[in-house]
């Protein structure tokens, strides 16, 4: 029975888009929102390091951004070239309405859970 199940999942994933939000994805999505018009991969990576104290490579952030874009939570466009980039343009990301929705759904879930957490229920 196990076998059948596996094959069904395989089929399923190729038809439907995955819409869940991982922890790292969620943080990156939030950071895109925070940085507004400066949200490009390198800046996001530095911001992440500063805010979380964890180190991350630009490539890891970039691949997450691309994944979020595929899920429809982000859109992107090329910005203006600048000198310190050797005259190259940057790719700027922006949150979509779906992204906003996913973030608030995720927040609601957490708030809901927190409110049921006995140690904090008095607050």
């Amino acid at each position: 029975m196990e076998i059948k199940h596996r094959i069904l999942v395989l089929q399923f994933s190729s038809i439907m888009k995955e819409t869940r939000l991982g922890e790292f994805e969620e943080v990156i999505l939030l950071l895109v929102g925070i940085l507004t018009d400066q949200a490009y991969a390198m800046k996001l990576a530095e911001e992440f390091e500063q805010q979380s104290g964890r180190s991350v490579s630009i490539g890891a952030v970039h691949s997450t951004l691309e994944r979020l874009r595929e899920k429809g939570f982000l859109t992107s466009e090329m910005g203006q070239p600048t000198a310190e980039r050797g005259g190259r343009r940057k790719r700027l990301y922006r949150i979509t309405a779906e992204g906003q929705q996913a973030l608030s759904a995720s927040r609601d879930l957490r708030m809901n859970l927190w409110s049921q957490f006995p140690a904090f229920s008095g607050q």
């Binding site: 059948k4 596996r6 991969a41 630009i58 490539g59 890891a60 970039h62």
Partner: protein, 882 residues
């Protein structure tokens, strides 16, 4: 200040691998960060970070799509599925992998061994022009081959045969100063016992392209009394120094010093193994020796001119036989010369065949491997690997029911059969790759033990260019061989039937599985038979009555430096209570010791008969007693008879050869000395390996030389040797005592047999393990399949024994069948092997009984665990799920 810019190669790399549309933004990001970092943290850290970021961009999403990545992801998919299948069946997977790992490890070991064995003498620039001369006698009553020729042959080869560019003679057996000597550099006092001396013509160094560290091949032995040292010996006697021109003394012969002509660096993989080469230039061992066609002592090498035809040269060489050799013989008598022309010829043996031609074939006392052993080991490795493949095939098809639904589903969703075949092949290759990792670890771990086993110094050639690709090919090969049948078998299921659940519990292939189990066990039983018989032969050799007593005999080396005083030392040692008897003679019944082959005739028959070839050993009056040899007729040498200087004691074989019923008093002659009269007959004793007959031999007075054998009186060897050493130190204070025990030397002669026997033991144990792994898994599987049947039988009242019998009978039947297949095969193989010995054990039926019992017992133990478990399990538990 160095220029501040991002590392060029990292940029190149990114441009090369990144998706085109990503390149701009990524390079921009990295460069921006780079300048920021360079400002804040310094250039070095900025560069390092740039590289770090570059590596982290090597992710699937960012890479350029290529055909390769397409295939790659497909194969990755295959491997992912395989990995899951592997994890699902841990027990069976580990048995498959374990079997493969053992098989591959055995193959690696044996491959390294074989590679080393066949690598001998493959390094010459003019490989195909270098030969050694072989004599062949092919008469109705005598067939023999040997490699030694007469002294004058070199001059004749050089002048008479135009196709021969160079020729050289070589003496590597114990003869005059060839063999072992006391050795010291001129100007020191302490002589050291050294082995590995050989005589060579100056040209040998050029023919065999010996590399030189000091001096060169052309001049090193060109002067009379010159000597060449190996690198190791030069390093130990003359460290960090060019010793060319210095002098060395052999056996304290100050008036006959040798001058060092060069230091050679002989490669490891060559048959030419010598630490000291003495020149033959200007050497004559006795008056007339260099022109005599009567004594055969020289191995002769030739190098042909480019383009010369080997067969043509062999033909031309017959002229030498017809002129020089026949002339000598017709001086002696016409009959021999006629025989010579009818039956004698020369062969040219390519240099790279010398090492693998066993010593028994050509009697050349060089270091040898053995073709047969190489083949034998190669087959053993192949079979163990096949056993592992069989495990894989058996388990894969047996477990097919488990995969049937998977196959059905995959087909329903649109897989082609070819995809499935590839999937299953990928699976077997994956198993192989994992097994290969384990195998390498195993080999690295066990290498020292293998080296002890084979007496070699092998190591894993990680860095050799062929090593990893070679084993990559091996993995693919093994993976495909073992995967191909299961792949076709499994991919053939019909989805509709499988998914309905009507089809196959792997029954169709059960006959094949039985066949393969028989194959496994037959192989195992053959190996067991080989092990038992080689072991018995070894035991036979070590314990056979030899005609002499090898125990408690100590071989004392080096007293020849005392010259006249040697006799006094012997007398002094005989006076010790620990020493029963002592003798002086270099001739001992151990292969590789000094030998002297002569042609003998009965007196007066020299012109009429063919000669009888016999060893002539120079001994003294105490020899027979020291060696524990028995006289069957006549008397020993005695000082009481002055005429004993021309007396001879012959062995029974020689008496037979001469056809003498009453040999006492008979007179015999050789080509050199006045007649000998026979005073006694000694019982035949083995003086060479048991692979050959005991040949004619005679003893005469005149013992001398480097060796003094002692027979100890009691079993307290330590205190005896202490006493001997005390006496030695009084006679030779400047020379350390050196001795060996004759029984050890004797056992040493059969190292090769012993090794063969041990290797068989190890590999048959390996084969048994691999076969048992397979059998265990099969029985576990079968028990699992029949668990409901067993439970129902139990409910209906079957006893444990009945259940056990039910589950094991099938397998035991297969083992018995294997026995039937294996016995004739084992018998045939071992008869072939034993045929190389003239003195050998007979193969008795109990060998087969033993092998059969071992196989049965092992099989029974292997399968009984699972069967018993099934027998004692609570049937309710197994039936509950229905």
């Amino acid at each position: 200040m160095s220029k501040v810019s991002p590392p060029k190669y990292a940029e190149k790399l990114l441009e090369w691998v990144l998706h085109d549309e990503l390149a701009e933004e990524v390079l921009g990001d990295l460069e921006e960060q780079f300048y920021a970092h360079a400002d804040r943290k310094g250039l070095r850290r900025a560069k390092r970070n740039y590289w770090y970021q570059t590596w982290n961009y090597l992710r699937p999403f960012a890479l350029k799509p290529t055909k390769l990545t397409n295939h790659f992801s497909m194969y990755r998919h295959y491997f992912k599925l395989s990995w899951r299948a592997l994890k699902r069946q841990r027990l069976y997977s580990s048995i498959k992998i374990g079997g493969f790992a053992l098989g591959i490890a055995a193959t690696i070991f044996i491959a390294l061994f074989i590679q080393e064995e066949v690598s001998y003498d493959q390094h010459y620039k003019d490989q195909d022009r270098i030969f050694r001369m072989i004599n062949v006698v092919d008469a109705p009553d005598e067939k023999s081959k040997w490699s030694h020729l007469q002294a004058p042959i070199k001059a004749v080869l050089d002048s008479d045969i135009p196709q021969i560019e160079q020729s050289a003679r070589f003496i590597a057996f114990n003869w005059y100063n060839a063999g072992d000597n006391q050795f010291r550099p001129q100007g020191t006092t302490q002589s050291v016992y050294e082995k590995g001396f050989a005589y060579a013509d100056p040209e040998l160094l050029e023919i065999l392209e010996v590399p030189f560290i000091y001096g060169n091949a052309t001049t090193a032995l060109a002067q009379p009394n010159s000597i060449v040292l190996s690198k190791e010996k030069a390093d130990s006697y003359f460290p960090n120094q060019d010793p060319v021109g210095l002098q060395v003394i052999l056996n304290e012969e100050e008036d006959n010093a040798y001058t060092i002509g060069g230091v050679m660096d002989i490669v490891a993989n060559t048959h030419l193994q010598a630490d000291f080469l003495l020149t033959l230039k200007g050497k004559e061992f006795w008056p007339g020796e260099q022109t005599s066609w009567d004594s055969w002592n020289y191995s002769t090498y030739v190098k042909l001119v480019p383009g010369a035809d080997r067969q043509q040269v062999e033909q031309n060489l017959l002229a030498i036989r017809d002129t020089h050799m026949a002339a000598t013989l017709s001086d002696n008598g016409g009959e021999s010369a006629f025989d010579l022309q009818a039956h004698f010829r020369f062969l040219l043996q390519p240099v790279n065949e010398i090492y693998l031609t066993p010593a028994e074939e050509l009697h050349d006392s060089l270091l040898h491997g053995d073709r047969k052993t190489v083949w034998l080991f190669g087959c053993v490795a192949l079979f163990i690997l096949l056993l592992a493949c069989v495990n894989f095939i058996n388990l894969s098809t047996a477990k097919s029911a488990m995969r049937a639904k998977e196959v059905g589903m995959l087909k329903v969703v649109g897989s082609f059969r070819s995809d499935l075949i590839r999937q299953f092949l990928a699976e077997s290759v994956l198993f192989c790759v994992i097994a290969f990792g384990f195998a390498l670890a195993l080999v690295a771990l066990l290498m020292p033990y293998f080296n002890i086993l084979t007496g070699k110094t092998l190591e894993l050639p990680w860095l050799d260019f062929w090593f990893l690709p070679g084993f990559g090919v091996l993995i693919l090969l093994v993976g495909v061989i073992s995967g191909i049948y299961p792949a076709f078998y499994l991919s053939a299921f019909r989805p509709a039937e499988v998914l309905k659940g009507t089809v196959t519990k792997g029954k169709k292939s059960s006959r094949l599985r039985s066949g393969l189990v028989v194959f496994q066990f037959a192989t195992t039983i053959v190996l067991i038979i080989c092990t038992v018989i080689t072991y018995r032969q070894m035991d036979f050799i070590l314990n056979k009555k030899l005609g002499f007593e090898k125990d408690r005999v100590v071989l004392l080396y080096g007293s020849n430096t005392l010259e006249e005083g040697q006799q006094a030392l012997k007398d002094e040692l005989k006076r010790l209570s620990h020493v029963e008897q002592a003798t002086i003679s270099e001739f001992i019944p151990i292969t590789g010791a000094t030998r002297d082959q002569n042609g003998f005739w009965l007196a007066g028959r020299r012109e009429l008969d063919k000669s009888v070839g016999a060893q002539k050993w120079r001994v003294d009056e105490d020899y027979l007693q020291t060696m524990g040899m028995k006289l069957v007729q006549g008397r020993n040498f005695s000082e009481a008879f002055a005429s004993d200087s021309s007396a001879v004691i012959i062995n029974e074989a020689m008496a037979r050869e001469f056809g003498l019923d009453d040999p006492l008093g008979a007179k015999i002659v050789n080509s050199f000395e006045p007649a000998y009269h026979v005073i006694g007959v000694v019982e035949d004793f083995h003086f060479e390996s048991m692979k050959g007959e005991i040949r004619p031999l005679c003893l005469v007075l005149g013992g001398e030389g480097i060796l003094m054998p002692l027979r100890l009186a009691g079993s307290d060897v330590a205190s005896a040797m202490h006493a001997v050493e005390h006496v030695w130190d009084q006679f030779l204070p400047n020379q350390a005592i050196r001795y060996r025990f004759m029984d050890q030397e004797y056992a040493h002669m059969y190292d090769m047999v012993q090794r063969t026997s041990r290797v068989f033991t190890v590999f048959s144990v390996l084969a048994i393990i691999v076969a048992c792994l397979g059998l265990f898994a099969l029985s576990a599987f079968m028990v699992e399949q029949r668990s409901k049947e067993v439970s129902i039988r139990k409910v209906l009242g079957a006893s444990l024994m009945q259940i056990f019998g039910l589950l094991t009978f099938n397998f035991l039947r297969l083992v018995v069948l294997s026995l039937v297949v294996a016995i004739p095969l084992g018998w045939y193989l071992m008869r072939e092997w034993l045929d190389t010995f003239v003195y050998r054990v007979t193969i008795t039926w109990d060998v087969y009984v033993l092998a059969g019992l071992i196989a049965l017992a092992v099989a029974l133990i292997t399968i009984s665990g699972e069967s018993l478990k099934a027998g004692v399990d609570n049937p309710a538990k197994r039936l509950r799920s229905e």
